[in-house]
């Protein structure tokens, strides 16, 4: 029997170990970037010789850095609003409604998730170019936003759909029994219950848009977002300003992700407590 227990112990260690190794794999480039952002030398190889903040200053002195930040922030803010609203509406239609052509609706709203981003960008670029020829506009931040909304909405939809699925509908019935009309039920019961899911979908959408390279790269025309700024920079040659930028990028993202996830989880737990079955 001891060998049996030993085998169990080995399996447990192996599984937990694989997960730990995966986290190491995920965080190796991230931690490396943070470490190299404080180097005092221009060369990005080990050993790191000295400690300095000079590359942060260098980064801010780059003339096209702050405009790229502003562009990214604008694009991410607008895309987040649209993707979250459309995704939430879509999630309700996916899970709670039954209507004609629902399968076609599901297919079309899910398909961008199964599409390589580069091809999504290319396909939309062709369309905007043809359309632009007819109507006299060229690609820029507006087309980037449209591209991001198409790419990100399915992600938001899936996240909100999970919340819609784990939803305690007796609360809605109770509100209806108490005399609330359809809109009042939505405003007072449905929306507050879905809010944690919607909120984490919004955070997800914001960060996906903020870090998006492929779609922006195809659709930005001459405009530059942050990932395009980095890409065109590292294509020319590496410099410690990019690790510095990465480090600045990580801090707010980590806070947002942690906050959103905790909120959503707490709400899911609260909801599933009274009845454990679906």
């Amino acid at each position: 029997m001891i060998s049996h227990r030993l085998k169990d112990r080995l399996i447990d260690t192996g599984l937990v170990g694989s997960l730990a190794l995966l986290l190491v794999f995920f965080y190796i480039p991230i931690i490396t970037l943070v470490a190299f952002s404080f180097t005092s030398s221009r060369v990005l190889t080990l050993p790191i010789e000295g400690f300095s903040f000079e590359w942060y200053g260098e980064l801010f002195r780059k003339p096209d850095f702050l405009p790229a930040v502003a562009n990214s922030a604008m694009v991410a803010a607008v895309s987040t609003v649209f993707a979250t609203i459309l995704g939430s509406a879509g999630a309700i239609a996916w899970i709670r409604y039954r209507f004609r052509l629902q399968n076609a609706f599901r297919l079309v709203t899910f398909a961008p998730l199964l599409f390589p981003q580069l091809l999504l960008g290319v396909v939309m670029l062709l369309w905007f170019s043809v359309l632009g020829n007819w109507l006299g506009f060229s690609t820029g931040l507006a087309t980037v936003i449209i591209g991001h909304v198409v790419y990100i909405t399915p992600f938001a939809l899936v996240i909100v759909a999970v919340q819609v699925y784990g939803f305690d509908e007796t609360l809605e019935d109770a509100a209806r029994d108490a005399g609330a009309n359809g809109w009042e039920v939505f405003r007072e019961v449905t929306f507050p219950l879905l809010w944690p899911g919607i909120f984490s979908a919004a955070i997800f959408a914001f960060l996906l848009s903020w870090g998006n390279f492929y779609v922006s790269y195809s659709l930005a025309g001459t405009a530059r977002t942050l990932p395009i700024f980095v890409y065109s920079g590292i294509a020319v040659g590496s410099s410690p300003i990019y690790p510095a930028l990465a480090t600045l990028n990580f801090i707010p993202a980590l806070i947002l992700v942690a906050f959103g996830e905790l909120l959503r989880r707490r709400a899911l737990k609260r909801q599933s407590m009274p009845s454990t079955e679906e």
Binding site: K7, L15, L19, T45, R96, Y97, P112, V150, F204, V257
Partner: protein
């Protein structure tokens, strides 16, 4: 679950469904159709000429060079799928069945790594895989020879980046199927005398098949369009289809050719999806019944 049956006369349904449907129609389906139409046009002096011509398609099918690259892209995608599933299965299983009290924290860490700017992470891999980088230093401390890892600017380097950026997808789908497995089924298997290994192969693995399939297909389709990793970590010596498509748009300004290559790649992806769908339906009678 409160399911509401709605008709298209209901203004609520239209308000909820129409905006998203229209966005996807106008900015996803129509562009896709447009791309297909463009493959039948030609260019002259870098300008698009509207004709109906099979010139581009004859070029695509007569140049083996294109098919070598597309073939290489498919091989890379298959290798990426295998590696991603091999990594995702044990880790998703561990996440679903072990470490219950740290579950939230680990998931937050994974989500954060996934949501970080891909260009920056890929750049981070250059620093890690460099000859004097972190990976060689780590291998050195365990006793390997210096410079023992030399995969930066090679297909293997690109593969590291692709697996890194895509492994989250099968982890997610596998996790979803693994947490849904009823513990009573496992206990029943143990009670009837099955060993852990036997239970794994006869209960856990079959029940996790939906996650395995959907994760694998997702990685395959998404890696067909990998561009950043081969370009930044692969060194450009063996270009993939995405690079070919980008060149035909940017360098050669040949839109119909770029559109045709895009359609070829999308067709490979769509065929894979359709095959996987058929396979899944064959395996699962429940799905077949729902489709009928």
């Amino acid at each position: 679950m409160n399911i509401e049956h709605k008709t298209w006369k209901d203004p609520v349904l239209i308000a909820v469904v129409a905006p998203l449907a229209i966005v996807m129609l106008v900015f996803f389906l129509v562009p896709l159709a447009m791309t297909a139409v463009l493959t039948f046009q030609t260019t002259q002096y870098y300008r698009l000429v509207w004709t109906w011509d099979l010139k581009v398609w004859t070029e695509v099918f007569s140049k083996p060079h294109y098919w070598t690259i597309i073939g290489r892209t498919i091989v890379m995608a298959i290798v990426c799928v295998v590696l991603c599933l091999l990594i995702a299965f044990p880790t998703a299983y561990a996440l679903a069945t072990r470490l219950k009290s740290y579950n939230t924290q680990i998931q937050i860490m994974i989500v954060f790594a996934f949501l970080t700017d891909a260009v920056l992470k890929t750049f981070g891999w250059i620093l890690v895989l460099d000859r004097n980088g972190v990976a060689n230093w780590m291998l050195g401390t365990v006793g390997f020879a210096p410079d023992s890892l030399d995969i930066l600017f090679s297909p293997a380097g690109a593969m590291v980046g692709m697996v890194y950026n895509l492994v989250v997808y099968p982890m997610f789908t596998l996790y979803l199927s693994l947490v849904r497995i009823d513990r009573d089924l496992l206990l029943a298997a143990y009670d009837s005398g099955a060993s852990r290994l036997r239970t794994f192969f006869e209960v856990t693995l079959p029940l996790s098949r939906p996650g395995l399939y959907s994760g694998g297909v997702l990685v395959f389709v998404l890696s067909l369009g990998a561009f950043l990793e081969p370009k930044v970590l692969g060194g450009g010596t063996s270009p993939l289809a995405s690079e070919l498509i980008r060149q035909s748009f940017e360098t050669r300004v040949n839109w119909p050719l770029g559109a045709a290559l895009t359609i070829v790649l999308i067709s490979v992806g769509a065929l894979t999806l359709a095959l996987a769908g058929l396979l899944a339906m064959k395996r699962s009678p429940a799905l077949r019944r729902r489709a009928a």
